[in-house]
Amino acid sequence: MEFSLSPDNISAYLIVSGLLFLFGVLTILTRRNAIYILLGVELILNAANLNFVAFSRFGGFGIDGQIFAVFIIILAASEAAVALAIILQIFNNYGTVDLTETNLMKK
């Protein structure tokens, strides 16, 4: 295992994307507000995207990785739109966006 932190090596990008992923996981694990969890998901998607683009440049796989990144950005935008609509509806029904309070399925 060898890590080099110069930007002409893929490991620098892998470390940055790994940190983004970990902060996203930490956000999702510690917060109870639904919007915060969405922020964490966005961070994780960006980490995955960064990996795709980095492998597209350093792996010698051509442009396919960048095309996957475009599709992931499209899916992330769709996901954010639907998730925020659902969050608004949760707020209309429960008066809060705290995910520990939304327990209709448990009753």
Binding site: E2, L22, R57
Partner: protein, 169 residues
């Protein structure tokens, strides 16, 4: 120069992500997410992916962030401060995932570096034309591209339908 740019944008991304995870107020975290997204867009540019970086600015920094800010405005001001005790189990879990990631990435990076031991010096070229051709090529990504268009239409209709008021659950 490119080294300097890499460090600048990498710091922007990582510090922004850390602020999302640790700041106490939702609106501050939302703007920290903007910072992280701009950092990631800059990293795309240092990787030679000019089209992806621009799309990131347009769609994420422009679109998704505005959506999130609307959600912040339309929901009540709740205390989102995290008691520090909740960071302990979450931190342990995150550290475990981080160690796994480090081993996996280390292996992959070593394999790639031995594969291209001479150093991979691809010239940086504009990518928009190549991406557009791949999207409209029947041997390439034409069908996923059209499916993405349909998905976006469904999402627009579905999001409006879900967000409508006066609906009993």
């Amino acid at each position: 120069m490119s080294v300097l740019m890499f460090w600048f944008f990498a710091l922007l991304a990582v510090v922004g992500a850390a602020m999302v995870a640790f700041l106490g107020r939702l609106i501050n975290s939302a703007f920290a997410l903007v910072m992280a997204l701009i950092g990631v867009a800059g990293l795309y540019w240092t990787l030679g992916a000019d089209f992806i970086g621009t799309t990131q600015i347009l769609l994420y920094v422009g679109g998704v962030t505005v959506l999130i800010l609307y959600a912040v405005m339309l929901t009540p001001k709740e205390s989102t401060r995290v008691p520090w005790i909740r960071f302990v189990p979450a931190g342990v879990l995150t550290l475990a995932v981080g160690i796994l990631l480090l081993t996996a990435f280390g292996g992959v990076a070593t394999a790639l570096n031995t594969l291209h031991s001479g150093g991979l010096e691809q010239p940086l070229e504009p990518t928009a034309a190549a991406i557009g051709e791949a999207f409209l090529d029947r041997e390439g990504y034409l069908i996923p591209f059209e499916l993405a268009s349909v998905l976006l239409l469904v999402v627009v209709v579905g999001a409006v339908f879900i967000a409508r008021r006066k609906r009993e659950v």
